[in-house]
């Protein structure tokens, strides 16, 4: 018996080695996997871009997969990495940056590059400012957006307001909304999803950090500033709008309901992401009204510091095979090329992230034809490079957002005074920050 076993084992070894020797010859292609979170029509845009990449890169084959929301994509990646079968490139949202770095499953993008391989001077500053941590780019910015004000020009005309002069201050929003509602032109003045993102944008715009340690960029944050004076200013305004029946509540993180409120003309104004410029403008046209855009409002008398870049970036997952990491790098670099960025911007409304891409669009007259994109762009380019607009780095950002959203919701529902609720929220965030630091470091 033993003799036969040995012979069999020997045969097996011979077969396997011969197979291994054949493999490198027949499969030159490096196969990598790309997981993303772009649903709806955008899935098709990504698919076509990946197909083009595969066509122009005969030695690499990218398999692309839509993995649900950003959160689901990240969850799936962590789970796959633990089992030893991770994808090679994933799209992850901006607020996951701290966590992705600490998870240790990604290769810092810049470490894969030779000096001068990517011309970072060509990238827009606000984008680099967000994604650069400790002087290093851990990921390649990909889809970027920020919030702007959309308004119904026809309703403005009916209310006797100047359709080319939308409100830019908190006070102006209240005044305009009041006129719209008083004259019975719409049920509500303005709407936006009850999302912490907008709150964070206002805070940054007023020059206030969200957390300490320079917004978590000079070490791990340990304390939040959601009970600061500027924070309370935002909440008080929000509450006033709600109490006067001027702000229509679409529900927590309910982007689509907010859009629906505006498109079905229940409100005259909407604040949402610039990534909706195309669809909101077109839907408005279908409903027979013209959509105008403006920068997000801030309190009168405050200096405008600009917005925090939102969106996502591409991360390369660590792999034992350097060839796969290199292929992943090629793919990520390709996605950020100016021509691909222009295509991406035109198809989705997300910003192109390179100066050369912006130049081409300007020469083409793109912004003249599509003035609503210009609003978004100017707001981004006029952003000052300070800590608050750089965006906060927080480990459990999702939890922090939930805390903020629940706090705002309970204030709107009169479950406690603004100061009380925000103090408690601040304490809850501090606990979250400190627990994260304790576990991770």
């Amino acid at each position: 018996m033993r003799g036969i076993g040995r012979v069999l084992a020997g045969l097996l070894v011979v077969t396997i080695t011969s197979l291994l020797m054949v493999v490198p010859v027949s499969a030159e292609k490096v196969k990598i996997e790309f997981w993303h979170a772009m649903g709806g029509g955008t899935t098709g845009v990504i698919d076509r871009m990946v197909a083009d990449f595969n066509y122009t890169h005969p030695d690499i084959e990218v398999a692309v997969q839509y993995k649900g929301s950003y959160r689901e994509t990240l969850n799936a990646t962590i789970a796959a990495a633990r089992q030893g079968t991770p994808p090679n490139v994933i799209q992850s949202f901006e607020i996951g940056t701290r966590q992705n770095i600490d998870s240790g499953i990604f290769v810092p993008f810049q470490e894969l590059l030779k000096p001068g391989e990517v011309d970072w001077n060509d990238f827009l500053d606000p984008v680099l400012n967000y994604y650069r941590v400790d002087e290093k780019l851990y990921s390649m910015p990909f889809n970027s957006s920020n919030p702007i004000l959309y308004y119904n020009k026809d309703m403005f005309k009916k209310a006797g307001l100047d359709p080319d002069n939308p409100p830019t201050t908190f006070e102006g929003i209240i005044e305009t909304s009041q006129k719209i509602v008083d004259k019975g032109i719409a049920k509500g003045g303005i709407t936006w999803a009850l999302h912490s993102w907008f709150y964070e944008q206002w805070l940054a715009n007023m020059g206030q950090n969200l957390v300490n340690k320079e917004n978590g960029r000079e070490g791990l944050a340990t304390e939040a500033y959601v009970n600061s004076e500027k924070s309370l200013k935002i909440i008080k305004w929000w509450k006033e709008l709600y109490d006067k029946g001027l702000w229509t509540n679409p529900g927590i993180e309910n982007w689509s309901q907010a859009r629906q409120n505006f498109i079905s003309q229940r409100t005259a104004m909407l604040i949402t992401s610039t990534s909706s410029v195309t669809s909101v403008t077109n839907s408005g046209k279908e409903q027979g009204f013209e959509v105008g855009t403006a920068p997000i409002p801030i309190p009168a008398g405050e200096t405008r510091n600009g917005v925090v870049i939102g969106g996502a970036s591409l991360w390369i997952v660590k792999n034992e095979d350097p060839a796969k990491e290199q292929a992943a790098k090629e793919f990520v670099k390709w996605m950020s090329l100016p021509e691909n960025q222009i295509r991406w911007h035109k198809a989705t409304g997300y910003f192109p992230i390179r100066k050369s891409a912006v130049d081409v669009l300007e020469k083409e007259g793109w912004f003249k034809q599509h003035s609503n994109y210009k609003t978004a762009f100017d707001q981004l380019l006029e952003t000052k490079s300070i800590r608050p607009t750089q965006g906060a780095l927080i480990g459990r950002f999702m939890e922090v957002r939930t805390i903020i959203e629940k706090a705002i919701e309970s204030i709107l529902n009169d479950q406690g005074s603004i100061e009380e609720v925000m103090d408690k929220a601040n304490k809850d965030i501090n606990d979250s920050l400190q627990e994260y630091n304790r576990v991770v470091h």
């Binding site: 962590i78 789970a79 529900g251 927590i252 999702m398 939890e399 629940k406 529902n413 304790r438 576990v439």
Partner: protein
């Protein structure tokens, strides 16, 4: 037995498959989550530190967790009491001899075949504060437009309603079967004695329905506690301000949104103890405490 099989091994070999399945899918995960509940974790356990009973202390001193216990109790009481009352009422109605009763029966049992996601979406459309059918009706009739999403009490009511509706078919089937099993002689004897319909229902019918009712109370409790995640996730996501965050939804949020696997494991241990209690209750009461008829 020994003499018959000749050795003690055979029964164990026959039991092996189910033991392996139980160990793999039941005991191993249960022990794992018990161990995990003693840790604070990040990234699904890629990093963790031992904290002993801290997770449990944190839970029972957290107003949010205590609140989710209360919400769970209100929610399950609503689902069980209102749900069973409506089911019994409908079951009695469709137990009558009317034309087309089969069609009614199928129509009433039908919601049970829907997945929670579909049921949730239907209710979401019905109760959408700005575009929903329910508010269209309330507005045209009474000029009011209740905000089912951002008012905590209404949201809880809506979720209870959806959960009841989803499970209605299940309850009706059991009640209908029980109603048809009531011996006719007893009811006829009551008729002869000149008992009123109401008297007959509460003294006779209800008496015969006791075992079914007890069974349904327990299964509905288990349903309300553990199987209503889908409806809540689609309708309210636990909001507004935790107003519909039940124990199971809180566990989900901590595990998959806040990445606190340790804390979530501690919550699953607490839920595990609750299920155990309910199961023991079910075995005890449905077997021993109810006797009737023969």
């Amino acid at each position: 037995m020994d003499s018959r099989f000749g050795q003690k091994k055979l029964p164990y070999i026959l039991l092996l498959p189910s033991i392996i399945v139980s160990i793999l899918f039941l005991y191993y995960p249960a022990i794992k989550s018990f161990i995990l509940s003693l840790y604070k974790t990040a990234f699904f356990g890629m990093k963790k530190i031992f904290v002993g009973g801290e997770n449990f202390i944190e839970l029972f001193t957290s107003p949010d967790y205590l609140n989710s216990i209360i919400i769970s109790l209100i929610f399950s009481a609503g689902v069980v009491v209102i749900g069973l009352a409506i089911s019994l009422f409908i079951a009695v109605l469709v137990n009558q001899d009317v034309k087309g009763v089969r069609i009614y029966r199928i129509g009433l049992i039908w919601p049970y075949a829907l997945s929670p996601a579909v049921a949730g979406t239907i209710w979401l459309f019905l109760f959408n504060p700005t575009a929903g059918l329910v508010n269209y009706i309330t507005e045209s009739l009474w000029g009011i437009s209740p905000d089912w999403i951002s008012n905590g009490k209404l949201a809880l009511l809506m979720v209870i309603g959806a959960a009841i509706w989803k499970n209605l078919g299940y309850n009706i089937v059991f009640y209908l079967a029980a109603l048809q099993n009531i011996p006719r002689e007893v009811l006829e004897a009551a008729d002869v004695d000149g008992a009123s319909d109401i008297y007959k229902f509460f003294k006779i019918t209800f008496f015969f329905l006791q075992p079914t009712t007890l069974f349904l109370i327990i299964t509905n409790l288990i349903y309300a506690f553990f199987d209503t995640f889908g409806v809540i996730d689609i309708l309210t996501k636990g909001g507004p301000v935790n107003a519909t965050t039940t124990l199971i939804y809180k566990l989900f949020i901590d595990a998959f949104q806040n990445y606190k696997s340790g804390l979530a494991a501690a919550q699953s241990i607490i839920l595990f103890i609750m299920v155990m209690g309910l199961t023991i209750a079910q075995f005890k009461w449905t077997d021993n405490k109810i006797q009737y008829g023969a």
